[in-house]
């Protein structure tokens, strides 16, 4: 299969206006991916499917990922004047990365037996801008998987023929696979809780009954 750079270049050529970014993957698996902008997704994916050298006719796996807002604090060295003398001091610099939701598609070619080409789509944010184009019109196999992502992550796919909850019941309002979801507090706690579970378990501990000291007297009497 041709290199990802070439695929990117050819796709950008075939679909004018499309912006595609290569997301590197540092792990030994070495499966880098293509980040496609939401406005041209369908055209790019159609190109990937129909191009004679690629023929990515099989969309194997569709995944939702939740990336929370992150703040990264880095120390930067700045030069300032202190008492008329120029000194280098370290200052913390706080950077905010807004969170987003992401869908990842793994495309393969059954006709030419190669792959995967991994493509990703990102939403604008995690609250209102959670719209993404659906790939179901191109690949039927995305139908249920996108419904699942809608159910568990709350991404709204436009162009999806039947976007309903699939795993949870219809009355359910949360999106439980989001990283900030808290499930209902409905279980008894383990005998040896720790960390987070311990904090939540404490709320369920009954207070010891108030002792009035009578049992000490009884113990005294019997020596």
């Amino acid at each position: 299969m041709e290199s990802l750079e070439r695929i990117k270049a050819r796709a950008e050529e075939a679909v004018p206006g499309a912006t595609i970014k290569i997301i590197p993957n540092a792990s030994p698996a070495n499966q880098p991916s293509l980040l496609i902008d939401s406005d041209h997704t369908l055209a790019v994916v159609q190109f990937l499917r129909n191009d004679a050298a690629l023929r990515l006719d099989f969309c194997s796996n569709v995944t939702g990922v939740d990336w929370l807002d992150r703040t990264v604090t880095t120390k930067v060295k700045v030069k300032t004047l202190i008492d008329g003398e120029e000194k280098e001091i370290e200052q913390p610099q706080v950077e905010n990365f807004p969170g987003y939701l992401e869908t990842v598609y793994h495309l393969y070619s059954i006709a030419l037996k190669h792959g995967p080409v991994v493509i990703r789509l990102r939403t604008a944010d995690r609250a209102d801008g959670v719209h993404l184009p659906s790939l179901t019109p191109v690949y039927r196999s995305a139908e249920f998987q996108e419904r699942e992502i809608f159910d568990l992550y709350g991404i709204r796919f436009h162009g999806h023929p039947d976007l309903r909850r699939i795993l949870m019941w219809d009355e359910f309002v949360d999106h439980p696979m989001r990283k900030d979801y808290r499930e209902p507090d409905d279980y008894e706690y383990e005998p040896t809780p720790h960390d987070e579970v311990l904090e939540r378990a404490k709320e369920h501990y009954a207070a010891r009954p108030q002792l009035d000291g009578a049992e000490n007297l009884a113990a005294d009497e019997h020596g």
């Binding site: 949870m168 019941w169 008894e188 009954a206």
Partner: protein, 203 residues
């Protein structure tokens, strides 16, 4: 009846029994389970009924597809919150006397999936359970053991008097309310009349 007299009569070829014993003997050797599987444990349930373990030796091979014909529901597998109302409904549709076996860690307490947001932490929150078998999954032998345990229980049930069996007590309920789907959880999360978890006491 006097034991000596009984054996004396038996020697003469006369067999005497009480109605209660006869009735229970008949019931305990023809328990019809509901053909109902939820998850992995159900496969072990099928294996129990299949050739090697042969549940038929205990009179329990007649799996009924309809709850209306079943005496026993084996809750074999993880009960999810989405499935729990259906399980209660199935239980309610069974005729009295009815028995419940909670098979596997999941049916007892949620088991390995206890932390799941969609997993019911034990079916005894909504319906009364007669026999619990731990295991993940319990081996077919364990299910047979539970079955025999249930037979023992049936054998001891009395038809009359103060300690008579629950299903003969008109004041006790034989159906339980079906939980509703709520916005975050089932409503109610447990049947308070049935499920009273112990409060953990710690300093």
């Amino acid at each position: 009846m006097n034991e000596g007299l009984l054996s004396e009569l038996k020697k003469q070829g006369i067999f005497v029994t009480s109605l209660q014993e006869l009735y229970n003997w008949g019931r305990l050797n023809s328990i019809w389970p509901l053909q109902f599987g939820l998850a992995c444990c159900a496969i072990e349930m099928i294996a129990t009924a299949a050739s090697r373990y042969d549940l038929a030796r205990f009179g329990g091979e007649v799996f009924r597809p309809s709850p209306r014909q079943a005496d026993l529901i084996i809750v074999a597998g993880t009960v999810t919150k989405k499935m729990a109302p259906q399980v209660v409904r199935l239980y309610n549709q069974m005729p009295d006397p009815k028995y419940v076996i909670a098979m596997g860690a999941c049916a007892i307490s949620g088991g390995p999936f206890k932390q799941g947001y969609n997993v019911l932490k034990g079916i005894d929150r909504y319906i009364p359970v007669d026999v619990y078998i731990p295991g993940c999954p319990p081996r077919p032998e364990a299910l047979l053991h539970a079955f025999m345990e249930l037979q023992r229980k049936i054998e001891e049930q009395r038809l009359t008097g103060a300690g008579k069996a629950d299903h003969l007590e008109a004041s006790l309920p034989s159906e339980f309310p079906v939980p509703a789907f709520g916005e975050h959880d089932l409503q109610p999360p447990a049947n308070p009349a049935l499920f009273r978890p112990p409060a953990v006491e710690r300093n």
